[in-house]
């Protein structure tokens, strides 16, 4: 089936992601920030779908739903909401902030001006049906070593969490 109204959906999803992203940092209540974050991540999953990467979109939803869940619990258990609503929200690090913004802006301008030579002219049209298989071939074939290192890192994190949380092992 041919996609319909791709321009509309691109701007809709991008707008949703950007607005939700802004809400994440401007809401005073941390729970509202977590909810805005899940909205932003869902918009991103929609953008992955538009790029013919349904597997990545599905994994994005599953992983971040669980991730935000944990974040939510941290907020409920660790953050004092009454206190955090009275606190000043942004700390005064104008210099660092401006530097980071300028660096990012320069990067954007460079990508916009030199993008034609840096990136391929059009996206390689992979058949949507084999997206899952393609990712499997990449992860377990071409990038096997990096993938295993990443999983080792996660294992270390798990063991570290257990060691820190439990007094007697």
């Amino acid at each position: 089936m041919q996609p319909v109204a791709t321009t509309f959906f691109f701007y809709f999803l991008s707008g949703l992601t950007v607005i939700a992203g802004v809400l994440v940092i401007t809401r005073r209540n941390p729970v509202h920030s977590a909810l805005a974050l899940i909205l932003a991540l869902l918009g991103q999953a929609g953008l992955y779908l538009m790029l013919y990467a349904p597997f990545v979109a599905g994994v994005q939803i599953i992983l971040y739903a669980g991730g935000i869940m944990v974040l939510f619990l941290f907020v409920i258990m660790l953050v004092n909401i009454e206190k955090s609503q009275k606190e000043e929200q942004f700390n005064k690090q104008w210099v660092v902030g401006i530097l980071a913004a300028v660096a990012l802006g320069v990067l954007f301008v460079l990508v916009y001006t030199k993008g034609k030579s840096l990136f391929p002219d059009r996206v390689a049209q992979l058949p949507e049906q084999s997206n899952t298989q393609q990712i499997a071939v990449m992860l377990y074939g071409n990038y096997m070593f990096t993938f295993e290192i990443a999983s080792l890192l996660l294992l270390v994190a798990i063991i570290g969490a257990v060691v820190m949380a439990k007094k007697r092992i």
Binding site: V31, L35, P54, I61, I62, F72
Partner: protein, 416 residues
């Protein structure tokens, strides 16, 4: 316009794949309607069956044998006062039931009621179902937190811990079933719901019975995890009445509460249909290869109509067993009318064109209905787990068993 509507009828794909918006909308409406009716029926059946298990009569007053009780309940809920606690977080309190309902209904767009009877077929079907249904826990935690009260918060915390930990066992069981699809002659696995059923058809075995007993164990792990995932007894700790009043929806009343109710039951139907699709052959009738041939085809195609005729007959038996007192006259006539309607539906299902089209849907629904009965049966017979026992079962039993089955399935797939 008419051409556009007709153009889909000849095709052999789902409306979503054919890109036909009209038929996709029709399917969505039909599924929505069917689900609502199923939830209403489930409400009545659950109370009746639980009552009979406890040697009670259950609802008997509203309509014959309490048949109109769910409708009366729905009206009561709709006209009840809708209370929001004054200290609650207004927006989150308002949006939580909506999130739960949307996630519970969205998953049904990939449920295959037949080779063409689904809204659409995605090539990440199972992943989509698991992902979207895992979002529903967010709605539950939002409801619990926004109520700004102790019992709901406790219920929500329990619910999140339970759902996050049982999701892992569930995922491992699903992966071992998906692995089985890749072991057919073509050698490519699939995550699409329709593709999974078709590969069971091609391998001539339901995945529950493949690599006996590996498929059965994976199915069992899923069957336990799905009860925990839907917060039903014996894992209904998030809404344990004796300790948490009503758990995460204690502060909800009226229409909002009914949304939680609707979402819970449609989530039960959704996970049951994942189980049916992955392990019990989806829309395939029993023994499509062993009992093949035109005679058996005819016999099995007559079964849907025969089921409805049997139900109608049972209604008529009820008519004759009604007390003969004039007070019960209206109820007796109502029950007879209900029996006639069931019988007419049964006769309609005997017509050859209807019969051929309805078969897949009937077998799928019958298998899902079996799971629904199991849910009620569990609730009637199992005592509730304690929370530490629940966590122990999830992490120390189901998770290792799931990993073991996954590895053994892969080994068996390579060796056999």
């Amino acid at each position: 316009m008419v051409e556009y509507i007709k153009s889909y009828l000849g095709s052999s794909t789902t409306p979503g794949q054919a890109g036909n918006v009209f038929w996709a909308s029709v399917y969505i409406l039909l599924i929505f309607l069917g689900l609502s009716v199923a939830v209403i029926a489930m409400n009545w059946l659950e109370r009746k069956i639980l009552a009979h298990m406890q040697v009670r009569l259950g609802p008997m007053r509203v309509g014959p044998h309490g048949l109109l009780q769910p409708i009366a309940d729905a009206i009561k809920l709709l006209i009840k006062e809708d209370i929001m606690p004054s200290q609650a977080d207004g927006f989150v309190f308002w949006v939580a039931p909506i999130v739960v309902v949307i996630t519970a209904f969205t998953v049904f767009i990939v449920v295959p009621f037949g080779p063409t009877h689904a809204v659409t077929d995605m090539n990440i079907g199972v992943l989509f179902m698991l992902g979207v249904s895992s979002l529903s826990v967010l709605g539950i935690v939002m409801a619990g937190w926004a109520s700004n009260s102790h019992y709901p918060l406790m219920g929500a915390l329990r619910s999140s811990a339970q759902m996050v930990s049982y999701e892992i066992a569930m995922g491992l069981a699903v992966v071992s079933a998906v692995l089985m699809t890749s072991l057919n002659a073509t050698g490519t696995g699939t995550l699409s719901m329709i593709g999974i059923v078709q590969s069971q058809q091609a391998q001539q075995v339901w995945f529950a019975f493949k690599f006996f007993p590996l498929g059965l164990i994976a199915f069992f792990v899923f069957a336990v995890a799905m009860v925990a995932e839907t917060n039903r007894a014996p894992f209904d700790l998030p809404e344990a009445e004796s300790e948490l009043t009503a758990g995460f929806h204690t502060e909800y009343s009226g229409f909002r509460w009914s949304l939680f109710f609707l979402a819970e039951y449609s989530a039960m139907i959704a996970v049951s249909s994942i189980a049916v699709t992955l392990w019990l052959g989806g829309w395939l009738r029993p023994f499509p290869h062993l009992l093949s041939g035109s005679t058996w085809d005819l016999v099995f195609s007559l079964l849907p109509g025969a089921t409805f005729l049997l139900l109608g007959l049972m209604a008529f038996v009820g008519v004759f067993r009604m007390p003969k007192h004039p007070y019960f006259r209206v109820q007796t006539i109502g029950l007879a009318g209900f029996g006639v309607i069931l019988g007419l539906i049964g006769l309609l299902l005997f017509l050859p064109p209807v019969r051929d089209r309805i078969q897949d849907i009937f077998w799928f629904s019958a298998k899902v209905a079996f799971f629904m009965y199991l849910y009620i049966w569990y609730r009637g017979t199992f005592p509730r787990y304690r929370f530490d026992q629940l966590m122990k079962v999830g992490w120390k039993v189901l998770l290792p068993v799931g990993i073991g089955v996954l590895i053994l399935t892969a080994v068996a797939g390579v060796l056999l």
